[in-house]
Symmetry: C2
Subunit: 125 residues, 2 copies
């Protein structure tokens, strides 16, 4: 019933590194960019900004830089005027996107249960 490696069985230092990495990639914007690019394939900055609802230009830039640094994303600059920059996922990014897909699906499927749990919890004070 526990096919995955368990927390206490691992080297604590390795564990901390894994947790740090998760802290990095498991945020709303990264997950959304992952989903959008997994679907669209390749997008430029402005299209990406449109496809990620609610993101500010600053956060998008930061997220993209971090993802590029982590090897999740490929950034291609076409030296033309006006500037043209393409973003697409690497194999690594795609694999993470697939891993996150389960979480995304979970959120969609169980959202109502969570909502009603919150209502019940708040009702009791």
């Amino acid at each position: 019933m526990h096919p995955a490696p368990l927390l206490k069985d691992l080297d604590p230092r390795l564990n901390a590194l894994v947790m740090d990495l998760i802290g990095r990639v498991a945020d709303k914007w990264t997950m959304t960019v992952l989903e959008v690019l997994a679907e669209a394939g390749t997008l430029r900055f402005t299209r990406l900004a449109e496809a990620v609802p609610g993101v500010s230009q600053k956060m998008l830039t930061q997220t993209l830089r971090a993802m590029q640094r982590d090897g999740l994303l490929l950034r291609t600059v076409h030296p033309v005027v006006p500037p043209h920059v393409d973003y697409r996922l690497t194999d690594l990014g795609l694999s993470l996107g697939e891993a996150f897909c389960g979480v995304w699906t979970w959120a969609e499927v169980h959202m109502e249960r969570v909502e009603s749990a919150r209502t019940a919890f708040d009702g009791r004070g």
Copy 2:
């Protein structure tokens, strides 16, 4: 090649709700508590604090409250002295834990690739 529901195909408002929910549950501490409790079954506060490396008492309390409110967690108070409080996952929590399992595994498997990607990126400045 895209079996999952795609972002642009969904109701924007629903989408925002899903993203908010993800923003809530997809953090380091929640994921770790999920992993720990999925493994251990039931734990009391202090054991949990020991099992989640690096967590502060405040963050653990906050995380547990939020998880309880979202219906991921069951909190049982045994009216004895000294106080005895048990935490265990609900079915909903377990299902989220399974969804996150893929992300956790991804982080373990690909950590070295991410590290070297970072080194390469930082090297180029």
